[in-house]
């Protein structure tokens, strides 16, 4: 006989599992936490490397030098914006056209579900402006996007200035194989989402937007820029997007190589690169960065305009310029050069970014942990739940086997075998009746008997098919709820439907039930294995148990009525 089909061996196995379960759970939990913390250390973190062949190892020379033009354009933008109060659409159109782009606008509006905090209004409307730089010698099949989200609170004017200066520089080059779209959106993320939806011809957020007049092919990658000062001390990169989605790691690697090449100070989660990995500071900082990234992903918010691009499988990043108290500052030319280099390398792409990882964690900007290495941590934590469920199942099974064996010998003296024996027939009848009652209330009627069946032993439960087993877990806590009342074996009569707490009851008292279980169901403790009408819980225990008890009574009455009505629905079986 096999290990699981031999009852003796199965009982021994069950006892082993029960004995070891608590330490195993604790161990598994600790292992999960420890593994997660170990992710910050060198063997589990790897240095980032460029996976895409097309973006290879060669650097390109950057020639952007129009810092002054960027600054003057930024000042113009601020002035016009202050004058008009919203995005200066006409000025933007004029400037983009003078730079040499094909300019288009798009208007959008959205009724917000909650009023806007600052302005106390529901309706938000705006205009997006975008210019397309066509590739001089290639067909317009693919494109790259440089977007600057402008909101009412974030001015982002230096980003607009830099974007326009870059557009002028890019227009003079002949090596573009993809079109480049320079996008300025109003209302930050709302405008970006409106543009993306119109570009891909979908409507997932119920935004009303005018259709786009100009298109440029499939978008391969996008960079969102947020700069609010003329000089920056560091560039912060944000990768987490909507629902925690991440861009392909190659895009981050690309940014990091240009940071290194240009000597720029680049930060991740606002933290610098840990310098020394030998002492505890490095790993500690990387654990912090890791946890911050996990939390930001868990929040589900897109932490920049790039987060909305990811849903359309467009790899995107947000670069934020930070101006802090540091002495060494970089001007717009340095940022512009980094962007020029990135776009030039992205221009070399032949396919979408797909070579590197899509799921990863970043303990530092130049180090990553892939999903294969961080998933075991989550696995260990989930293993605790699995072990607990196994333990519950084993325990109930044990408890069921014990009383059944006791029940087989009628003359034995444990307190409730006669009633249990009598109960066998009653519930069985009742169960048949319930099943003939039809699918209308199979859950309630079948389930009403299940705890009873459960505690009478698994074999009887098995006779009634799979639908019984399915409800075991659901009704188990209910059984635990019942013994809370007085021990009244005589109150049970065969034929009476055993009232059990409904689902609400089970959710209301899982903890209590689970805590009660080890103490209640064990072989030889058949005193606890009774079911009775639920006594209304004590007044002080809260509204939910009261609600559960009331629900039980209501269900009981309903099922009585259903049983008495003659075969209203055809039986399932």
């Amino acid at each position: 006989m096999g290990l699981l089909s031999d009852p003796v061996r199965r009982r021994a196995l069950a006892r082993l599992v029960l004995r070891l379960n608590a330490p195993l759970c604790v161990l598994s939990y600790v292992a999960g936490i420890a593994w997660f913390l170990a992710l910050a250390f060198p063997p589990l973190t790897q240095r980032t490397y460029m996976s895409e062949n097309a973006m290879g190892s060669t650097m390109v020379e950057e020639q952007f030098a129009a810092g002054d033009r960027a600054r003057s354009l930024a000042r113009d933008f601020t002035a016009h914006r202050r004058k008009s109060g919203a995005l200066p659409v006409a000025w933007l159109e004029r400037t983009m056209r003078s730079v040499g782009l094909e300019v288009y606008t798009q208007s959008f509006s959205r009724k917000l579900p909650f009023p806007d905090e600052t302005h106390e209004r529901y309706m938000v409307s705006g205009i997006n402006v975008y210019g397309i730089l066509r590739a001089p010698r290639a067909a317009s099949t693919e494109s790259l996007v440089l977007t600057v989200p402008c909101g009412p609170d974030s001015t982002n004017s230096q980003a607009v200035g830099l974007m326009l200066a870059l557009a002028a520089h890019f227009r003079g080059q002949i090596y573009w194989a993809k079109d480049i779209i320079f996008l300025v959106t109003e209302h930050d993320l709302l405008g970006t989402e409106a543009w993306l939806e119109a570009y891909h011809d979908v409507n997932v957020t119920g935004m009303q937007s005018s259709p786009l007049q100009g298109r440029a092919g499939a978008i391969q990658a996008a960079v969102a820029l947020e700069l609010s000062s003329d000089v920056v001390t560091s560039l912060d990169v944000v990768v987490e997007g909507l629902n925690g989605q991440l861009p392909n790691l190659d895009l981050l690697n690309l940014f990091q190589t240009f940071c290194q090449k240009g000597g720029l100070l680049c930060t991740l989660q606002g933290k610098l690169q840990p310098q020394d990995w030998t002492s505890i500071d490095g790993p500690l900082q990387s654990v912090q960065t890791l946890l911050l990234m996990v939390l930001q992903q868990a929040s589900g918010r897109p932490h920049g305009a790039h987060g909305l691009f990811l849903r359309y499988r467009v790899e995107a990043l947000t670069l934020r310029g930070i101006n802090s108290f540091r002495q060494y500052k970089y001007d717009l030319v340095a940022v512009g050069k980094a962007l020029e280099g990135m776009f030039r390398k992205l221009n070399h792409l032949l396919e979408r970014l797909h070579q590197s990882f899509f799921f990863y964690l970043l303990p530092a900007l130049s180090r990553f942990v892939s999903i294969g290495l961080y998933m075991p941590a989550a696995g260990f934590l989930l293993l605790v739940l699995g072990l607990k469920a196994l333990e519950l199942w084993m325990q109930l099974h044990e408890a069921g086997v014990g009383p059944e064996e006791a029940g087989k010998t009628p003359g034995s003296s444990p307190p409730h075998p006669p009633t249990q024996g009598g109960e066998h027939t009653g519930p069985r009848q009742g169960l048949d009746g319930a099943e003939t009652g039809g699918p209308h209330l199979p859950g309630t009627t079948a389930g009403l008997h299940h705890p009873h069946q459960l505690l009478s032993g698994l074999p009887t439960g098995r006779q009634h098919g799979a639908c019984c087993c399915r409800h075991q877990a659901l009704w188990t806590p209910a059984a635990l709820h019942c013994p809370a009342g007085a021990d009244e074996p005589s109150s049970y009569t065969p034929g009476q439907l055993v009232p059990v707490a409904g689902a609400s009851g089970s959710t209301a008292l899982p903890g209590r039930g689970l805590a009660a279980l080890p103490g209640r169901t064990g072989p030889g403790r058949a005193g606890a294995s009774h079911l009775r009408l639920p006594a209304l819980p004590a007044a002080g225990s809260g509204p939910l148990p009261l609600l559960a008890a009331l629900l039980e009574r209501a269900l009981l009455e309903v099922t009585e009525a259903a049983r008495s009505s003659p075969r209203s629905l055809l039986p399932r079986k």
């Binding site: 062949n53 097309a54 290879g56 190892s57 060669t58 650097m59 390109v60 020379e61 590739a135 001089p136 010698r137 290639a138 080059q173 002949i174 090596y175 573009w176 194989a177 030039r344 390398k345 221009n347 070399h348 032949l350």
Partner: protein
């Protein structure tokens, strides 16, 4: 008196003895000259240059092939004898910041694309099947002449291949590959069809030596840029263009070939020394066991150039006047004066006659018919 006679005899024998080595030296010089003249048995040169990889980041493979093409053309092989196969167009790629150029040295020192490049197989035509058909000559009759390798048993052929490769194979266009066994069999077919006199095979890929280890036909010499298990590395990145321009091995071969001119006597042993491990990082290899001549007697221009041998002779040749010829021409002049018939145009293409005579083909060669045959390709 007897003493003087004896002395003179001794002197003559001594003189004879002394002059003997000089005589043999003179004889060996003539032998050397004769040997030099008949050093190689070839009368024409062909080159098949293949680049097998596409995409912008494989710029260097196209540059490799074009630099060998440039050297081969400079040393005398005409375009009609070169089959150039390039799997992608780098010069006109939209990503090329200097359109219509392909550079081999950074800072745009050397444009190997030039003004008069003739690419025979381009883009998607570079496949394993087309390459093997070119080598073996099994080509559909509609193929233009520039795409054929019309070599004979007195041709020396240079075959240069570059791209991405591995142990025993070379990748064509990211979708198929040619194995070393196929290549060896193709060369054997060429040998059996007497399509080459001698063959020089050069390959610049990773693990290139694996491609020549299966050759079994005679008169083949092979060079490779790296041994099995080694990678061939690229040479210089150019930040203005944004890609690596050349592979190391071919870069140094190009520098070596730039110093060769059609008259140079550099031999194959010097080519074997090009690109030692210190410069190339990989170990170039070569194979000469199938080759019948000693590599030190093989000139570089035997394969890379097309050298016409000129023999200056000091003999005189007297031309006898042929009396028969003179008399018949004299007679013809007289006949023209006598005839004075009305002149008419001769029929340009006597089709009716040809059709008639075609039926009686087995009656012997007909000059008109044989003329028609010459017109057929």
């Amino acid at each position: 008196m007897v003493d003087t006679c004896f002395l003179s005899q001794g002197l003559t024998t001594l003189a004879g003895l002394l002059l003997l080595p000089f005589g043999s030296l003179a004889a060996s010089q003539i032998e050397d000259q004769a040997e030099q003249f008949f050093r190689s048995g070839h009368t024409n040169n062909w080159a098949v240059l293949v680049c097998t990889s596409r995409f912008w980041f494989n710029y260097r493979h196209v540059a490799n092939t074009l630099s060998v093409y440039r050297s081969v053309k400079r040393l005398g092989i005409p375009d009609s004898h070169i089959v150039l196969m390039l799997a992608d167009d780098m010069a006109c790629n939209p990503r090329n910041p200097k359109p219509a150029t392909v550079y081999s040295h950074k800072n745009m020192e050397l444009n190997v694309y030039g003004d008069d490049v003739e690419v025979d197989y381009r883009s998607y035509e570079v496949t394993v099947e087309n390459f093997l058909r070119v080598l073996t000559g099994r080509i559909p009759s509609s193929t233009p002449r520039s795409k054929r390798l019309l070599s004979d048993d007195r041709s020396n052929i240079l075959i240069y291949m570059t791209g991405h490769g591995g142990n025993g194979f070379l990748k064509f266009q990211d979708s198929e590959e040619i194995t070393n066994i196929e290549l060896a069999d193709a060369f054997e077919q060429m040998w059996q069809k007497r399509r080459y006199n001698e063959l020089l095979f050069i390959i610049d890929t990773c693990q290139g030596a694996s491609m020549y280890e299966r050759f079994y036909s005679p008169n083949i010499m092979a060079l490779a840029s790296s041994q099995v298990g080694e990678d061939s590395l690229s040479h210089q990145p150019d930040p203005a263009v944004g890609v690596h321009l050349m592979d190391r091995y071919t870069f140094y071969v190009l520098e070596f070939l730039e110093e060769i001119n059609p008259a140079s006597q550099t031999n194959m042993n010097d080519l074997f020394q090009v690109c030692p491990k210190s410069l190339c990082v990989s170990t170039p290899g070569h194979r000469t066991d199938l080759f019948q001549r000693d590599p030190k007697n093989v000139l570089i221009t035997d394969f890379f150039g097309s050298v016409r041998k000129v023999e200056i002779t000091t003999e005189t040749l007297s031309l006898q006047p042929d009396s028969g010829v003179i008399e018949s021409s004299y007679k013809k002049d007289q006949m023209v004066e006598e005839l004075m018939e009305p002149l008419k145009y001769a029929e340009q293409l006597p089709v009716a006659q040809i059709i008639h005579q075609g039926i009686f083909l087995n009656q012997g060669p007909n000059p008109c018919l044989s003329n028609l045959l010459c017109l057929l390709p």
